[in-house]
Amino acid sequence: MMRNDPIKHVFIWPAVLVVLAISIFPLIYSLTTSFLSYRLIPPIPPRVVWLGNYVTLLQEPRFWNALFTTTLIALIAVGLQYAIGFGVALALNARVPGERLFRVALLLPMLLAPVAVALVARMIFNPTMGPLNQFLAKFGLANLPFLTNGHWALACIIAVEVWQWTPFIILMMLAGLQTLPEDVYEAAELENASAWQQFWGITFPMMLPISAAVVFIRLIESYKIMDTVFVMTGGGPGVDTETLTLFAYQEGFKKFNLGYTSALSFLFLIAITIIGVTYLALLRPHLEKRR
Protein backbone atom coordinates (compact mmCIF):
# COMPACT_ATOMS: atom_id res chain seq x y z
CA MET A 1 0.00 0.00 0.00
CA MET A 2 1.29 3.42 -0.94
CA ARG A 3 0.60 6.27 1.40
CA ASN A 4 0.29 9.84 0.30
CA ASP A 5 1.43 12.27 2.93
CA PRO A 6 3.07 15.64 2.37
CA ILE A 7 5.89 14.58 4.67
CA LYS A 8 7.22 12.37 1.88
CA HIS A 9 8.90 15.44 0.44
CA VAL A 10 10.90 15.93 3.63
CA PHE A 11 12.10 12.35 3.29
CA ILE A 12 13.19 12.39 -0.31
CA TRP A 13 14.37 15.93 -1.02
CA PRO A 14 17.68 15.99 0.91
CA ALA A 15 19.02 13.04 -1.08
CA VAL A 16 17.65 14.29 -4.39
CA LEU A 17 19.09 17.76 -3.82
CA VAL A 18 22.58 16.50 -2.98
CA VAL A 19 22.71 14.13 -5.94
CA LEU A 20 21.25 16.74 -8.29
CA ALA A 21 23.72 19.37 -7.15
CA ILE A 22 26.75 17.12 -7.44
CA SER A 23 25.73 15.53 -10.72
CA ILE A 24 24.00 18.36 -12.63
CA PHE A 25 26.51 21.10 -11.80
CA PRO A 26 29.51 19.23 -13.16
CA LEU A 27 27.51 17.88 -16.10
CA ILE A 28 26.48 21.32 -17.31
CA TYR A 29 29.85 22.71 -16.49
CA SER A 30 31.87 20.18 -18.44
CA LEU A 31 29.35 19.99 -21.28
CA THR A 32 29.70 23.71 -21.91
CA THR A 33 33.46 23.69 -21.37
CA SER A 34 33.88 20.86 -23.87
CA PHE A 35 32.91 23.23 -26.70
CA LEU A 36 35.60 25.73 -25.72
CA SER A 37 39.29 25.93 -26.34
CA TYR A 38 40.26 26.68 -22.77
CA ARG A 39 43.62 26.24 -21.08
CA LEU A 40 44.82 27.40 -17.69
CA ILE A 41 48.52 26.91 -18.42
CA PRO A 42 49.45 28.97 -20.39
CA PRO A 43 46.37 31.09 -19.65
CA ILE A 44 44.43 31.67 -22.86
CA PRO A 45 40.98 33.27 -22.75
CA PRO A 46 38.30 30.71 -23.63
CA ARG A 47 37.28 30.58 -27.27
CA VAL A 48 34.31 28.69 -28.70
CA VAL A 49 35.45 25.88 -31.00
CA TRP A 50 32.19 23.88 -31.02
CA LEU A 51 33.08 20.28 -31.82
CA GLY A 52 36.76 21.03 -32.36
CA ASN A 53 37.89 19.24 -29.21
CA TYR A 54 35.90 16.15 -30.09
CA VAL A 55 37.32 16.03 -33.60
CA THR A 56 40.89 16.37 -32.30
CA LEU A 57 40.25 13.64 -29.77
CA LEU A 58 38.78 11.20 -32.25
CA GLN A 59 41.87 11.62 -34.41
CA GLU A 60 44.18 11.14 -31.44
CA PRO A 61 45.72 7.64 -31.41
CA ARG A 62 46.35 7.97 -27.68
CA PHE A 63 42.62 8.20 -27.05
CA TRP A 64 41.91 5.04 -29.05
CA ASN A 65 44.78 3.31 -27.30
CA ALA A 66 43.35 4.23 -23.90
CA LEU A 67 39.88 3.08 -24.93
CA PHE A 68 41.28 -0.21 -26.22
CA THR A 69 43.38 -0.79 -23.10
CA THR A 70 40.45 -0.06 -20.80
CA THR A 71 38.16 -2.35 -22.76
CA LEU A 72 40.75 -5.12 -22.75
CA ILE A 73 41.29 -4.87 -19.00
CA ALA A 74 37.56 -4.72 -18.30
CA LEU A 75 36.56 -7.64 -20.54
CA ILE A 76 39.33 -10.06 -19.54
CA ALA A 77 39.25 -9.16 -15.87
CA VAL A 78 35.47 -9.42 -15.56
CA GLY A 79 35.43 -12.67 -17.56
CA LEU A 80 37.97 -14.26 -15.26
CA GLN A 81 36.29 -12.85 -12.17
CA TYR A 82 32.98 -14.33 -13.25
CA ALA A 83 34.41 -17.77 -14.07
CA ILE A 84 36.42 -18.07 -10.87
CA GLY A 85 33.80 -16.37 -8.72
CA PHE A 86 30.96 -18.57 -9.92
CA GLY A 87 33.09 -21.68 -9.45
CA VAL A 88 34.10 -20.80 -5.91
CA ALA A 89 30.53 -19.81 -5.04
CA LEU A 90 29.26 -23.17 -6.31
CA ALA A 91 31.86 -24.98 -4.23
CA LEU A 92 31.10 -22.95 -1.11
CA ASN A 93 27.38 -23.49 -1.59
CA ALA A 94 27.98 -27.23 -1.80
CA ARG A 95 29.48 -27.15 1.67
CA VAL A 96 33.00 -27.95 0.69
CA PRO A 97 35.03 -28.99 3.76
CA GLY A 98 36.49 -25.98 5.54
CA GLU A 99 33.92 -23.72 3.95
CA ARG A 100 33.39 -21.51 7.00
CA LEU A 101 37.08 -20.83 7.27
CA PHE A 102 37.20 -19.61 3.69
CA ARG A 103 34.40 -17.11 3.91
CA VAL A 104 36.03 -14.22 5.74
CA ALA A 105 39.34 -14.61 3.91
CA LEU A 106 37.61 -14.79 0.55
CA LEU A 107 35.68 -11.58 1.08
CA LEU A 108 38.59 -9.52 2.35
CA PRO A 109 40.17 -8.18 -0.86
CA MET A 110 37.15 -6.20 -2.04
CA LEU A 111 37.16 -4.07 1.10
CA LEU A 112 40.82 -3.07 0.81
CA ALA A 113 42.02 0.17 -0.74
CA PRO A 114 42.99 -0.47 -4.38
CA VAL A 115 45.96 1.85 -3.87
CA ALA A 116 47.35 -0.27 -1.05
CA VAL A 117 46.65 -3.46 -2.99
CA ALA A 118 48.55 -2.06 -5.97
CA LEU A 119 51.51 -1.23 -3.74
CA VAL A 120 51.59 -4.79 -2.44
CA ALA A 121 51.30 -6.03 -6.02
CA ARG A 122 54.33 -3.97 -6.97
CA MET A 123 56.36 -5.77 -4.34
CA ILE A 124 55.12 -9.19 -5.34
CA PHE A 125 55.75 -8.51 -9.03
CA ASN A 126 59.21 -7.12 -8.40
CA PRO A 127 61.45 -8.77 -11.02
CA THR A 128 64.42 -9.38 -8.73
CA MET A 129 63.39 -9.35 -5.07
CA GLY A 130 59.74 -10.38 -5.31
CA PRO A 131 58.34 -13.69 -4.12
CA LEU A 132 56.72 -14.41 -7.47
CA ASN A 133 60.09 -14.13 -9.17
CA GLN A 134 61.57 -16.55 -6.65
CA PHE A 135 58.73 -18.98 -7.29
CA LEU A 136 59.03 -18.78 -11.07
CA ALA A 137 62.83 -18.99 -10.94
CA LYS A 138 62.38 -22.55 -9.74
CA PHE A 139 60.87 -23.27 -13.14
CA GLY A 140 63.69 -21.47 -14.89
CA LEU A 141 61.70 -18.27 -15.50
CA ALA A 142 63.81 -15.80 -13.56
CA ASN A 143 63.57 -12.01 -13.80
CA LEU A 144 60.50 -11.64 -15.99
CA PRO A 145 59.79 -7.98 -16.89
CA PHE A 146 56.48 -7.92 -14.99
CA LEU A 147 55.84 -4.20 -14.97
CA THR A 148 58.30 -2.94 -17.54
CA ASN A 149 56.96 -4.77 -20.60
CA GLY A 150 53.65 -3.59 -21.97
CA HIS A 151 52.00 -7.00 -22.31
CA TRP A 152 53.24 -8.28 -18.97
CA ALA A 153 52.18 -5.07 -17.22
CA LEU A 154 48.68 -5.40 -18.65
CA ALA A 155 48.52 -9.00 -17.49
CA CYS A 156 49.66 -7.99 -14.00
CA ILE A 157 47.02 -5.27 -13.76
CA ILE A 158 44.37 -7.77 -14.84
CA ALA A 159 45.65 -10.24 -12.24
CA VAL A 160 45.33 -7.63 -9.51
CA GLU A 161 41.82 -6.71 -10.66
CA VAL A 162 40.82 -10.36 -10.61
CA TRP A 163 42.35 -10.82 -7.18
CA GLN A 164 40.54 -7.84 -5.75
CA TRP A 165 37.09 -8.17 -7.29
CA THR A 166 36.42 -11.91 -7.61
CA PRO A 167 35.20 -11.80 -3.97
CA PHE A 168 32.38 -9.49 -5.03
CA ILE A 169 31.21 -12.06 -7.58
CA ILE A 170 31.56 -14.85 -5.02
CA LEU A 171 29.47 -12.91 -2.52
CA MET A 172 26.69 -12.09 -4.96
CA MET A 173 26.58 -15.51 -6.62
CA LEU A 174 26.56 -17.24 -3.26
CA ALA A 175 23.62 -15.13 -2.16
CA GLY A 176 21.90 -15.99 -5.42
CA LEU A 177 22.61 -19.71 -5.20
CA GLN A 178 20.99 -19.84 -1.80
CA THR A 179 17.66 -18.71 -3.22
CA LEU A 180 17.41 -21.55 -5.76
CA PRO A 181 14.56 -23.93 -5.02
CA GLU A 182 15.66 -27.34 -3.80
CA ASP A 183 12.86 -29.42 -5.31
CA VAL A 184 14.11 -28.87 -8.85
CA TYR A 185 17.37 -30.53 -7.91
CA GLU A 186 15.56 -33.37 -6.21
CA ALA A 187 13.59 -33.96 -9.39
CA ALA A 188 16.78 -33.89 -11.43
CA GLU A 189 18.29 -36.34 -9.01
CA LEU A 190 15.43 -38.77 -9.62
CA GLU A 191 16.01 -38.45 -13.36
CA ASN A 192 19.64 -39.37 -12.76
CA ALA A 193 20.93 -36.14 -14.21
CA SER A 194 24.67 -35.79 -13.77
CA ALA A 195 26.18 -32.87 -11.88
CA TRP A 196 27.29 -31.43 -15.20
CA GLN A 197 23.77 -31.66 -16.66
CA GLN A 198 22.29 -30.20 -13.49
CA PHE A 199 24.58 -27.23 -13.74
CA TRP A 200 23.86 -26.38 -17.37
CA GLY A 201 20.21 -27.39 -17.22
CA ILE A 202 19.18 -25.84 -13.92
CA THR A 203 21.76 -23.77 -12.06
CA PHE A 204 23.15 -21.72 -14.91
CA PRO A 205 19.83 -20.68 -16.48
CA MET A 206 18.33 -19.88 -13.10
CA MET A 207 21.32 -17.82 -12.13
CA LEU A 208 21.31 -15.91 -15.42
CA PRO A 209 19.46 -12.81 -14.19
CA ILE A 210 21.76 -12.44 -11.18
CA SER A 211 24.81 -13.14 -13.34
CA ALA A 212 23.74 -10.48 -15.79
CA ALA A 213 23.37 -7.90 -13.03
CA VAL A 214 26.65 -8.78 -11.33
CA VAL A 215 28.64 -8.77 -14.57
CA PHE A 216 27.04 -5.48 -15.54
CA ILE A 217 28.04 -3.85 -12.25
CA ARG A 218 31.61 -5.14 -12.53
CA LEU A 219 31.92 -4.15 -16.18
CA ILE A 220 30.88 -0.58 -15.52
CA GLU A 221 33.10 -0.34 -12.46
CA SER A 222 36.05 -1.81 -14.36
CA TYR A 223 35.82 0.88 -16.98
CA LYS A 224 36.53 3.43 -14.27
CA ILE A 225 39.80 1.75 -13.31
CA MET A 226 42.40 4.27 -12.31
CA ASP A 227 44.04 3.86 -8.89
CA THR A 228 45.45 0.38 -9.50
CA VAL A 229 47.07 1.45 -12.77
CA PHE A 230 48.17 4.79 -11.33
CA VAL A 231 50.22 3.09 -8.63
CA MET A 232 51.37 -0.04 -10.45
CA THR A 233 52.60 1.37 -13.74
CA GLY A 234 51.47 4.99 -13.96
CA GLY A 235 50.20 4.12 -17.42
CA GLY A 236 53.62 2.96 -18.53
CA PRO A 237 55.73 1.70 -20.08
CA GLY A 238 55.03 4.53 -22.52
CA VAL A 239 51.26 4.60 -22.71
CA ASP A 240 50.86 0.83 -22.93
CA THR A 241 48.66 0.52 -19.85
CA GLU A 242 47.03 3.95 -19.90
CA THR A 243 43.29 3.77 -19.18
CA LEU A 244 40.67 6.36 -20.06
CA THR A 245 40.47 7.83 -16.58
CA LEU A 246 44.24 8.05 -16.33
CA PHE A 247 44.45 9.72 -19.74
CA ALA A 248 41.86 12.28 -18.67
CA TYR A 249 43.74 12.86 -15.43
CA GLN A 250 47.04 13.44 -17.25
CA GLU A 251 45.46 15.87 -19.70
CA GLY A 252 43.39 17.73 -17.15
CA PHE A 253 45.49 17.82 -14.05
CA LYS A 254 48.97 17.90 -15.51
CA LYS A 255 48.39 20.04 -18.60
CA PHE A 256 45.26 21.90 -17.47
CA ASN A 257 43.81 21.61 -20.94
CA LEU A 258 40.25 22.12 -19.75
CA GLY A 259 38.18 22.08 -22.93
CA TYR A 260 39.98 19.03 -24.22
CA THR A 261 39.60 17.13 -20.95
CA SER A 262 35.91 17.95 -20.70
CA ALA A 263 35.39 16.66 -24.23
CA LEU A 264 37.34 13.54 -23.29
CA SER A 265 35.24 12.88 -20.23
CA PHE A 266 32.10 13.32 -22.30
CA LEU A 267 33.30 10.83 -24.87
CA PHE A 268 33.99 8.51 -21.94
CA LEU A 269 30.45 9.00 -20.70
CA ILE A 270 29.09 8.28 -24.18
CA ALA A 271 31.26 5.16 -24.47
CA ILE A 272 30.06 3.84 -21.10
CA THR A 273 26.45 4.51 -22.05
CA ILE A 274 26.84 2.71 -25.39
CA ILE A 275 28.46 -0.27 -23.66
CA GLY A 276 25.78 -0.39 -21.00
CA VAL A 277 22.90 -0.15 -23.45
CA THR A 278 24.43 -2.71 -25.83
CA TYR A 279 25.00 -5.10 -22.97
CA LEU A 280 21.41 -4.80 -21.76
CA ALA A 281 20.04 -5.10 -25.31
CA LEU A 282 22.09 -8.25 -25.95
CA LEU A 283 20.97 -9.87 -22.74
CA ARG A 284 17.34 -8.88 -22.66
CA PRO A 285 16.00 -11.67 -24.94
CA HIS A 286 17.78 -14.30 -22.85
CA LEU A 287 16.50 -12.90 -19.59
CA GLU A 288 12.89 -12.64 -20.71
CA LYS A 289 12.75 -16.07 -22.25
CA ARG A 290 13.51 -17.68 -18.90
CA ARG A 291 10.73 -16.02 -17.01
Binding site: N93, M129, A195, Y249
Partner: protein, 345 residues
Protein backbone atom coordinates in the same frame (compact mmCIF):
# COMPACT_ATOMS: atom_id res chain seq x y z
CA UNK B 1 20.37 -26.41 1.19
CA UNK B 2 22.95 -29.08 0.96
CA UNK B 3 25.04 -30.19 -1.90
CA UNK B 4 23.34 -28.39 -4.74
CA UNK B 5 25.25 -28.94 -7.93
CA UNK B 6 27.77 -31.17 -6.29
CA UNK B 7 25.55 -34.03 -5.24
CA UNK B 8 26.31 -36.08 -8.30
CA UNK B 9 30.04 -35.84 -7.85
CA UNK B 10 32.22 -38.68 -6.72
CA UNK B 11 34.29 -38.30 -3.54
CA UNK B 12 37.34 -37.76 -5.70
CA UNK B 13 35.89 -34.86 -7.63
CA UNK B 14 34.68 -33.40 -4.35
CA UNK B 15 38.25 -33.45 -3.13
CA UNK B 16 39.37 -31.85 -6.38
CA UNK B 17 36.86 -29.05 -5.93
CA UNK B 18 37.95 -28.52 -2.34
CA UNK B 19 41.52 -28.35 -3.56
CA UNK B 20 40.59 -25.70 -6.12
CA UNK B 21 38.89 -23.57 -3.49
CA UNK B 22 41.87 -24.01 -1.23
CA UNK B 23 44.18 -22.86 -4.03
CA UNK B 24 42.10 -19.74 -4.60
CA UNK B 25 42.08 -19.12 -0.88
CA UNK B 26 45.88 -19.31 -0.77
CA UNK B 27 46.13 -16.88 -3.69
CA UNK B 28 43.81 -14.55 -1.80
CA UNK B 29 45.63 -14.76 1.48
CA UNK B 30 49.24 -14.77 0.35
CA UNK B 31 49.54 -11.07 -0.59
CA UNK B 32 47.95 -10.14 2.72
CA UNK B 33 50.37 -12.35 4.62
CA UNK B 34 53.21 -10.87 2.59
CA UNK B 35 52.37 -7.29 3.43
CA UNK B 36 51.94 -8.05 7.13
CA UNK B 37 55.28 -9.85 7.28
CA UNK B 38 57.15 -7.27 5.22
CA UNK B 39 56.01 -4.45 7.48
CA UNK B 40 58.09 -5.94 10.29
CA UNK B 41 61.24 -6.46 8.28
CA UNK B 42 64.53 -4.64 8.62
CA UNK B 43 66.25 -3.35 5.47
CA UNK B 44 68.54 -6.43 5.20
CA UNK B 45 65.48 -8.66 5.47
CA UNK B 46 64.13 -7.10 2.30
CA UNK B 47 67.15 -6.57 0.12
CA UNK B 48 68.49 -10.09 0.58
CA UNK B 49 65.63 -11.60 -1.43
CA UNK B 50 62.20 -12.77 -0.39
CA UNK B 51 61.85 -14.00 3.18
CA UNK B 52 58.68 -15.39 4.65
CA UNK B 53 58.76 -16.53 8.26
CA UNK B 54 59.55 -14.12 11.10
CA UNK B 55 62.31 -15.17 13.56
CA UNK B 56 63.40 -17.93 11.15
CA UNK B 57 64.09 -15.98 7.96
CA UNK B 58 64.57 -12.53 9.47
CA UNK B 59 64.38 -10.68 12.77
CA UNK B 60 61.18 -8.65 13.05
CA UNK B 61 61.30 -5.01 14.09
CA UNK B 62 58.77 -2.34 14.91
CA UNK B 63 60.91 0.40 13.38
CA UNK B 64 58.72 0.99 10.27
CA UNK B 65 55.72 1.75 12.45
CA UNK B 66 57.71 4.00 14.75
CA UNK B 67 58.89 5.88 11.67
CA UNK B 68 55.31 6.20 10.49
CA UNK B 69 54.06 7.49 13.81
CA UNK B 70 56.87 10.01 14.08
CA UNK B 71 55.91 11.38 10.70
CA UNK B 72 59.18 10.63 8.92
CA UNK B 73 57.26 9.33 5.93
CA UNK B 74 54.57 11.96 5.81
CA UNK B 75 51.89 13.06 8.21
CA UNK B 76 50.42 9.62 8.76
CA UNK B 77 48.73 10.27 12.05
CA UNK B 78 47.09 13.43 10.80
CA UNK B 79 46.03 11.80 7.53
CA UNK B 80 44.62 8.81 9.37
CA UNK B 81 42.49 11.18 11.42
CA UNK B 82 41.33 12.94 8.23
CA UNK B 83 40.29 9.68 6.64
CA UNK B 84 38.46 8.64 9.78
CA UNK B 85 36.62 11.94 10.18
CA UNK B 86 35.64 12.26 6.53
CA UNK B 87 34.77 8.56 6.26
CA UNK B 88 32.58 8.45 9.37
CA UNK B 89 30.73 11.69 8.67
CA UNK B 90 30.17 11.02 4.97
CA UNK B 91 28.95 7.49 5.72
CA UNK B 92 26.69 8.73 8.53
CA UNK B 93 25.15 11.54 6.46
CA UNK B 94 24.75 9.38 3.37
CA UNK B 95 23.15 6.56 5.35
CA UNK B 96 20.75 8.95 7.07
CA UNK B 97 19.45 10.87 4.07
CA UNK B 98 19.75 7.84 1.79
CA UNK B 99 17.66 5.74 4.16
CA UNK B 100 15.06 8.48 4.33
CA UNK B 101 14.84 8.65 0.57
CA UNK B 102 14.70 4.87 0.27
CA UNK B 103 11.88 4.75 2.81
CA UNK B 104 10.00 7.41 0.91
CA UNK B 105 10.41 5.44 -2.31
CA UNK B 106 9.10 2.27 -0.69
CA UNK B 107 6.11 3.66 1.18
CA UNK B 108 4.99 6.83 -0.59
CA UNK B 109 3.92 7.41 -4.12
CA UNK B 110 5.78 9.86 -6.30
CA UNK B 111 4.91 11.14 -9.71
CA UNK B 112 7.35 13.08 -11.80
CA UNK B 113 6.55 14.16 -15.30
CA UNK B 114 9.29 13.44 -17.76
CA UNK B 115 8.60 16.84 -19.27
CA UNK B 116 9.31 18.55 -15.95
CA UNK B 117 12.57 16.66 -15.60
CA UNK B 118 13.71 17.62 -19.06
CA UNK B 119 12.63 21.16 -18.42
CA UNK B 120 14.77 21.26 -15.31
CA UNK B 121 17.85 20.25 -17.25
CA UNK B 122 17.23 22.61 -20.16
CA UNK B 123 16.43 25.55 -17.88
CA UNK B 124 19.52 24.92 -15.78
CA UNK B 125 21.69 24.70 -18.89
CA UNK B 126 20.05 27.66 -20.63
CA UNK B 127 19.99 29.78 -17.51
CA UNK B 128 23.64 29.08 -16.89
CA UNK B 129 24.60 30.07 -20.43
CA UNK B 130 22.43 33.15 -20.28
CA UNK B 131 23.74 34.37 -16.93
CA UNK B 132 27.32 33.58 -17.79
CA UNK B 133 27.54 34.80 -21.37
CA UNK B 134 25.17 37.74 -21.52
CA UNK B 135 24.90 39.04 -17.97
CA UNK B 136 28.59 38.54 -17.31
CA UNK B 137 28.30 36.63 -14.04
CA UNK B 138 31.10 34.24 -13.08
CA UNK B 139 30.50 30.59 -13.78
CA UNK B 140 29.69 29.48 -10.22
CA UNK B 141 27.40 32.45 -9.70
CA UNK B 142 25.57 31.64 -12.91
CA UNK B 143 25.22 27.99 -11.90
CA UNK B 144 24.07 28.80 -8.38
CA UNK B 145 21.48 31.17 -9.78
CA UNK B 146 20.25 28.94 -12.59
CA UNK B 147 19.90 25.88 -10.35
CA UNK B 148 17.15 27.11 -7.99
CA UNK B 149 15.28 28.84 -10.80
CA UNK B 150 15.24 25.67 -12.86
CA UNK B 151 14.27 23.61 -9.82
CA UNK B 152 11.34 25.83 -8.85
CA UNK B 153 10.15 26.04 -12.44
CA UNK B 154 10.33 22.25 -12.74
CA UNK B 155 8.37 21.75 -9.51
CA UNK B 156 5.68 24.11 -10.74
CA UNK B 157 5.69 22.46 -14.16
CA UNK B 158 5.20 19.07 -12.50
CA UNK B 159 1.74 20.19 -11.37
CA UNK B 160 0.71 21.24 -14.86
CA UNK B 161 -0.85 18.72 -17.22
CA UNK B 162 2.17 18.41 -19.47
CA UNK B 163 2.12 15.80 -22.22
CA UNK B 164 4.55 12.91 -22.03
CA UNK B 165 4.99 9.93 -19.72
CA UNK B 166 4.75 10.15 -15.95
CA UNK B 167 7.63 8.58 -14.02
CA UNK B 168 6.95 6.63 -10.85
CA UNK B 169 8.97 5.41 -7.90
CA UNK B 170 10.80 2.75 -9.90
CA UNK B 171 12.04 5.38 -12.32
CA UNK B 172 13.24 7.64 -9.54
CA UNK B 173 15.11 4.70 -8.06
CA UNK B 174 16.62 3.98 -11.45
CA UNK B 175 17.70 7.60 -11.71
CA UNK B 176 19.42 7.32 -8.33
CA UNK B 177 21.21 4.10 -9.19
CA UNK B 178 22.19 5.24 -12.66
CA UNK B 179 24.26 7.98 -11.08
CA UNK B 180 26.66 5.18 -10.22
CA UNK B 181 27.28 4.57 -13.92
CA UNK B 182 28.73 8.01 -14.33
CA UNK B 183 32.50 7.86 -14.78
CA UNK B 184 33.77 9.66 -11.68
CA UNK B 185 36.42 11.47 -13.71
CA UNK B 186 33.66 13.52 -15.37
CA UNK B 187 32.45 14.71 -12.00
CA UNK B 188 35.83 14.91 -10.28
CA UNK B 189 37.38 17.17 -12.84
CA UNK B 190 34.39 19.50 -13.19
CA UNK B 191 33.95 19.56 -9.43
CA UNK B 192 37.58 20.53 -9.04
CA UNK B 193 37.13 23.49 -11.40
CA UNK B 194 33.85 24.48 -9.81
CA UNK B 195 35.25 24.25 -6.28
CA UNK B 196 38.26 26.32 -7.18
CA UNK B 197 36.12 29.01 -8.80
CA UNK B 198 33.87 29.09 -5.75
CA UNK B 199 37.08 29.34 -3.72
CA UNK B 200 37.98 32.48 -5.62
CA UNK B 201 34.66 33.96 -4.50
CA UNK B 202 35.85 33.52 -0.94
CA UNK B 203 34.32 30.21 0.15
CA UNK B 204 36.97 27.54 0.19
CA UNK B 205 35.82 24.06 -0.84
CA UNK B 206 39.03 22.59 -2.22
CA UNK B 207 41.02 20.87 0.48
CA UNK B 208 38.19 21.37 2.95
CA UNK B 209 36.08 19.06 5.04
CA UNK B 210 32.80 20.32 3.60
CA UNK B 211 33.81 19.98 -0.03
CA UNK B 212 35.17 16.47 0.27
CA UNK B 213 32.36 15.17 2.48
CA UNK B 214 29.65 16.64 0.26
CA UNK B 215 31.14 14.94 -2.77
CA UNK B 216 31.43 11.58 -1.00
CA UNK B 217 27.86 11.80 0.31
CA UNK B 218 26.57 12.39 -3.21
CA UNK B 219 28.57 9.50 -4.59
CA UNK B 220 27.54 7.05 -1.86
CA UNK B 221 23.85 7.90 -2.02
CA UNK B 222 23.02 5.66 -5.01
CA UNK B 223 24.33 2.56 -3.21
CA UNK B 224 22.66 3.54 0.05
CA UNK B 225 19.27 4.12 -1.56
CA UNK B 226 19.55 0.88 -3.50
CA UNK B 227 20.51 -1.27 -0.51
CA UNK B 228 18.19 0.37 2.00
CA UNK B 229 15.16 0.07 -0.27
CA UNK B 230 15.46 -3.70 -0.11
CA UNK B 231 15.76 -3.72 3.67
CA UNK B 232 12.71 -1.51 4.05
CA UNK B 233 10.71 -3.59 1.60
CA UNK B 234 11.38 -6.64 3.74
CA UNK B 235 9.69 -5.02 6.74
CA UNK B 236 6.09 -6.21 7.11
CA UNK B 237 3.76 -3.31 6.44
CA UNK B 238 1.22 -4.45 9.05
CA UNK B 239 3.25 -2.97 11.89
CA UNK B 240 3.24 0.42 10.24
CA UNK B 241 -0.44 0.16 9.41
CA UNK B 242 -1.25 -0.55 13.03
CA UNK B 243 0.63 2.58 14.02
CA UNK B 244 -1.18 4.59 11.38
CA UNK B 245 -4.53 3.56 12.75
CA UNK B 246 -3.45 5.18 16.01
CA UNK B 247 -2.63 8.34 14.04
CA UNK B 248 1.08 8.23 14.70
CA UNK B 249 2.74 10.72 12.32
CA UNK B 250 4.88 9.30 9.54
CA UNK B 251 8.18 10.61 10.83
CA UNK B 252 7.59 8.94 14.17
CA UNK B 253 6.73 5.68 12.44
CA UNK B 254 10.02 5.97 10.59
CA UNK B 255 12.22 6.79 13.57
CA UNK B 256 10.38 4.72 16.17
CA UNK B 257 9.48 1.59 14.22
CA UNK B 258 11.18 1.32 10.86
CA UNK B 259 14.70 2.35 11.85
CA UNK B 260 14.97 0.01 14.85
CA UNK B 261 13.58 -2.86 12.77
CA UNK B 262 16.15 -2.40 10.04
CA UNK B 263 19.12 -1.69 12.29
CA UNK B 264 21.13 -4.54 10.80
CA UNK B 265 20.63 -3.26 7.29
CA UNK B 266 21.48 0.28 8.30
CA UNK B 267 24.68 -0.88 9.97
CA UNK B 268 25.73 -2.96 6.98
CA UNK B 269 25.00 -0.08 4.61
CA UNK B 270 26.92 2.27 6.84
CA UNK B 271 29.94 -0.02 6.81
CA UNK B 272 29.85 -0.56 3.05
CA UNK B 273 29.67 3.20 2.54
CA UNK B 274 32.49 3.74 5.01
CA UNK B 275 34.66 1.25 3.12
CA UNK B 276 33.90 3.00 -0.15
CA UNK B 277 34.82 6.43 1.20
CA UNK B 278 37.87 5.13 3.05
CA UNK B 279 39.32 3.57 -0.10
CA UNK B 280 38.33 6.29 -2.55
CA UNK B 281 41.22 7.71 -4.52
CA UNK B 282 40.20 9.82 -7.50
CA UNK B 283 38.12 12.49 -5.75
CA UNK B 284 40.62 12.82 -2.95
CA UNK B 285 43.36 13.26 -5.55
CA UNK B 286 41.53 16.13 -7.18
CA UNK B 287 39.90 17.79 -4.21
CA UNK B 288 42.56 17.74 -1.49
CA UNK B 289 46.09 19.04 -1.19
CA UNK B 290 47.54 18.75 2.25
CA UNK B 291 45.22 19.67 5.07
CA UNK B 292 42.44 17.21 4.26
CA UNK B 293 44.50 14.65 2.41
CA UNK B 294 43.21 11.13 2.93
CA UNK B 295 45.10 7.88 3.39
CA UNK B 296 44.91 6.52 -0.19
CA UNK B 297 46.68 9.62 -1.50
CA UNK B 298 49.44 9.43 1.09
CA UNK B 299 49.85 5.70 0.56
CA UNK B 300 50.04 6.11 -3.22
CA UNK B 301 52.68 8.76 -2.70
CA UNK B 302 54.92 6.34 -0.81
CA UNK B 303 55.60 4.58 -4.05
CA UNK B 304 57.34 7.36 -5.89
CA UNK B 305 59.02 8.80 -2.83
CA UNK B 306 60.65 5.60 -1.56
CA UNK B 307 61.76 3.29 -4.31
CA UNK B 308 62.48 -0.03 -2.69
CA UNK B 309 61.94 0.70 0.97
CA UNK B 310 59.47 -2.11 1.22
CA UNK B 311 59.25 -2.12 4.99
CA UNK B 312 57.97 1.46 4.89
CA UNK B 313 55.63 0.83 1.97
CA UNK B 314 54.18 -2.24 3.69
CA UNK B 315 53.64 -0.44 6.96
CA UNK B 316 51.90 2.38 5.10
CA UNK B 317 49.71 -0.05 3.18
CA UNK B 318 48.86 -1.84 6.43
CA UNK B 319 47.67 1.38 8.04
CA UNK B 320 45.22 1.81 5.17
CA UNK B 321 44.20 -1.85 5.09
CA UNK B 322 43.82 -2.93 8.73
CA UNK B 323 40.70 -0.91 9.64
CA UNK B 324 38.95 -2.44 6.66
CA UNK B 325 40.13 -5.92 7.64
CA UNK B 326 38.50 -5.45 11.03
CA UNK B 327 35.36 -4.27 9.30
CA UNK B 328 35.37 -7.26 6.97
CA UNK B 329 35.31 -9.45 10.07
CA UNK B 330 32.37 -7.53 11.52
CA UNK B 331 30.55 -7.44 8.21
CA UNK B 332 30.93 -11.14 7.52
CA UNK B 333 29.23 -11.86 10.82
CA UNK B 334 26.25 -9.81 9.75
CA UNK B 335 26.20 -11.23 6.27
CA UNK B 336 24.32 -14.31 7.04
CA UNK B 337 22.88 -15.66 3.88
CA UNK B 338 20.00 -13.30 3.31
CA UNK B 339 21.47 -9.93 3.98
CA UNK B 340 22.61 -8.83 0.55
CA UNK B 341 20.12 -10.96 -1.27
CA UNK B 342 17.58 -8.34 -2.01
CA UNK B 343 20.21 -6.04 -3.37
CA UNK B 344 20.82 -8.11 -6.45
CA UNK B 345 17.27 -8.63 -7.54
Amino acid sequence: MSGQGLTGLSPWSRRLVALGVLAWCLITVFPLYWVVVTAFKTPPGVVGGPTYIPFVDFTPTLQPFIDLYQGIRGEFFHTFLNSTIVGLSAAAIATTIGAMAAYALVRFEFKVRLGAGLMFFLLALGGYLLFNATLGLTRPQALLLAFPIALIAAIVANRLPLPGPILGNEDILFWFVSQRMFPPIVTAFALYLLYSEIGRLGFQLIDSFVGLTLCYVAFSLPIVVWLMRDFFEAIPIEVEEAAMVDNVPSWRIFIGIVVPMSMNGLLATFMITLAFVWNEFLFALFLTNSRWQTLPILVAGQNSQRGDEWWAISAAALVAIVPMMIMAGLLSRMMRSGLLLGAIK
